[in-house]
């Protein structure tokens, strides 16, 4: 909440990503009584990552629902609530547990507006903590975004920092279309200043240049934005630009292409497997749209074509600063 110092309202606060998401949810719930939060352990516990901490206490059990342990049920009933005029915000506890809801998301939620000839709106938000790097057990470290970006009818976004968590959750809730919001779980406890005033915030569908540079563009989203920023910082010899994609679908082509046209080199980074990953779309699109501006092929850095490994191998699987800079080296060696 904004602090009031004397008569001056200070609209910036230092918050963790988890807390910022919590504040954003709270704002949305205060703003619109139709907003309903639902998921496993989101009520009394406040979610396993504490994103919904205190919301049930303040908004009651009918607006913050500890659901039965059934993901298909969570999304399916959210669709029904939306049809009745509510704006459900579903929490899927971990990335690997979204699949029981796959039919409801891809065959039902994504298609319903078109099937209704545009008569229905489905303002459902599905929040999914995603990605690895926390030493977790199986099914707790996955990056399933490509399954959803591959599906027309869904908007897919990913936040990378507390500020975006705060704004994107509110924008997602007010969006009339279904939104899947991927949250970088290993960054939940990272803190940064958050501007509580949304008026200057980038729109939901926009990519942003997170760091300006001249020589090469890194395209990333979610947890890899920080990794790319660190890589850019660590590299003393080249000027590296980092673009935070933020909206995977729709993609903000203008921001991406203008960066690559400027630098002439591009590396795409995500945790998900490279093969058939979202980076394949970025690489193809950049190549098609600015072939003559490129000094080198677009390179991709990401996970392997294997199930996510046991945690003692995850440091090999996950792109890190060295692997990002290795790819940067290769684009210059072309």
């Amino acid at each position: 909440m904004a602090q009031v110092e004397g008569s001056v309202t200070v609209s910036t606060e230092i918050l963790s990503l988890s807390r910022a998401m919590n504040e954003g949810l709270r704002k949305a719930m205060e703003h619109d009584s139709k907003v309903v939060v639902m998921g496993e352990d989101v009520g009394r516990l406040g979610g396993v990552f504490r994103v919904t901490d205190g919301l049930q206490k303040d908004f009651g059990e009918s607006r913050v629902i500890d659901t039965p342990l059934a993901e298909s049920g969570i999304v399916g009933t959210a669709i029904g609530l939306a049809l009745r005029g509510y704006r459900p915000v579903c929490e899927i506890q971990f990335d690997g547990f979204v699949f029981p809801a796959f039919n409801q998301i891809t065959s039902q939620l994504a298609k319903m507006r078109l099937r209704s000839l545009g008569m229905l709106e489905l303002p459902v938000v599905i929040r999914i903590p995603f990605g690895g790097g926390i030493g977790a057990a199986e099914h707790h470290s996955e990056s399933p975004e490509a399954y959803f970006t591959h599906t027309g009818g869904l908007r897919v976004v990913a936040c990378s920092n507390p500020s975006d968590a705060y704004t994107m959750i509110q924008q997602a809730i007010s969006c009339p279309d279904p939104v899947i919001l991927f949250e970088p779980k290993r960054r939940y406890w990272d803190k940064a200043p958050v501007d509580l005033d949304l008026s200057g915030a980038a729109p939901l569908g926009r990519a942003v240049v997170a760091r300006e540079g001249e020589d090469v563009t890194l395209l990333a989203y979610g947890p890899m934005v920080k990794t790319c920023l660190e890589a850019a910082q660590a590299d003393g010899s080249r000027s590296i630009e980092v673009v935070d994609i933020r909206s995977l679908s729709p993609l903000d082509e203008a921001t991406v292409l203008s960066s690559v046209r400027k630098t002439g080199r591009c590396v795409v980074v995500h945790e998900a497997p490279v093969f058939s990953g979202y980076g394949a779309e970025l690489a193809a699109r950049v190549t098609e749209r600015c072939f003559y501006d490129l000094e080198a092929p677009v390179l991709r850095v990401g996970g392997f074509s294997t199930p996510y490994p046991p945690s003692r191998l995850e440091d090999h699987y996950l792109p890190d600063l060295d692997r990002v800079l290795d790819a940067v080296d290769r684009t210059f060696a072309w």
């Binding site: 352990d41 009520g43 516990l45 039965p68 342990l69 059934a70 690997g96 977790a136 057990a137 699987y317």
Partner: protein, 372 residues
């Protein structure tokens, strides 16, 4: 965090048990009879069950300590559920197949799995450590409820083989809400599959009490699917053994599935990353402490003179040794080799994986060259 008084009231005290609960050994260690379930065990057999209970609890305690010391990444404790697991798993015959979720360390013990192999996935060195065919214990399943369909299909295979074996599948109270679990109920019913659905109702699914999953006692769900359901005192190893044995016999003799609801309690946190003080009262835990599954067998052994203090001391000493051995060998577990990332993803050679492996290995080697 304040707890809503009405919902936080401790449920169940020693005095009252839920209706229809099958019990053969009271919390005080008195043997009681039940018209439908009798059990006739030798002194050695009962002492064997006690040994299992004590050792399994000791292994669990050791694993918790290893987690606190950073040797394991996470641990789902079975504390409180020892009798449900030992009683049911000791009812199995060697040819029967068991499908666990992730908390069935006691079942693994009964199936002859080396306890250190149970730790691997929690140490982050593999996803599962034992040969499912050697122990007739399938791999653990973390995605709630999925294994119930695998178990049902396995049971259908047994049927088609004309074999005498049966299947048991373990899951929690929370799991009963998943679609897969309910589909498994439907499938096994219409196929008349030789399967026992063993639900450990430990009252909690992380922070959600079991009434968030069901308006009726869970065993009564079976009525609607058309097969018998029974609620057993999950802290009574004798009753769990008797009830499971009867259900397995029924499966073997062509009577199809049974749902067993073992009414028990998760004494600890959901896992070591959970803080139950945020959602439940200590008074509830204390009430269940009085129904401890190990204490009541010890009381019975002494009272009935089935065993003496010397035997109890021997078991304690053995458990201590098994625990120390687990610790020792846990610390010796080797970290996985890089190649294990790609090994075993497919049976056949896969060119993409071969390429990834080669490129990444040479990438790593480039660091050696730099440092040389």
């Amino acid at each position: 965090m304040t707890i809503d008084a009405a919902r936080g009231t401790p449920r169940g005290t020693v005095a009252e048990s839920p209706p229809g609960l099958v019990q053969l050994l009271t919390p005080a260690g008195e043997r009681v009879e039940h018209p439908d379930y009798e059990i006739d065990l030798t002194a050695e057999e009962i002492k064997g069950l006690y040994r299992d209970l004590v050792i399994v609890r000791r292994l669990d305690t050791e694993a918790l300590a290893l987690t606190r010391q950073g040797e394991l990444a996470v641990w789902p404790s079975l504390r409180g559920q020892e009798a449900a697991q030992i009683g049911s798993a000791r009812a199995l015959l060697p040819g029967d197949m068991a499908f666990p979720s992730y908390r069935e360390h006691g079942v693994a013990w009964c199936r002859g799995v080396d306890p250190v192999k149970v730790l691997g996935s929690y140490r982050g060195i593999n996803h599962a450590g034992w040969d499912p065919r050697k122990h007739n214990l399938h791999l653990p399943t973390i995605v709630i409820g999925s294994q119930a369909l695998h178990a049902t299909g396995y049971a259908m295979g047994i049927q088609r083989d004309g074999a005498e074996d049966a299947v048991i599948v373990y899951f929690g109270d929370g799991a009963t809400s998943e679609g897969d679990l309910n589909e498994a109920f439907v499938w096994s019913a219409v196929q008349n599959a030789p399967i026992v659905f063993f639900c450990q109702n430990n009252q909690w699914a992380i922070s959600e009490p079991s009434e968030r999953q069901s308006r009726i006692p869970l065993h009564r769900r079976a009525d609607g699917f058309g097969f018998p359901g029974v609620r057993v005192d999950g802290n009574d190893v004798l009753a769990c053994l008797a009830v499971t044995r009867k259900a397995l016999d029924g499966a073997r003799s062509g009577q199809g599935p049974t749902l067993v609801e073992a009414f028990t309690y998760r004494m600890g946190a959901h896992t070591t990353t959970d803080d139950p003080n945020r959602y439940r009262l200590q008074a509830e835990v204390e009430a269940w402490q009085l129904k401890d599954p190990v204490d009541r067998v010890r009381a019975y052994l002494l009272k009935s003179r089935t065993a003496d203090q010397e035997f109890l001391d021997e078991v304690d000493a053995e458990a201590k040794e098994v625990g120390a051995d687990l610790r020792r060998r846990c610390l010796e577990l080797p970290d996985p080799e890089l190649d294990e990332l790609w090994d075993n993803v497919y049976v056949a050679e896969h060119p993409l994986l071969a390429d990834e492996r080669a490129r990444f290995t040479s990438y790593l080697r480039s660091f050696d060259e730099v440092s040389r």
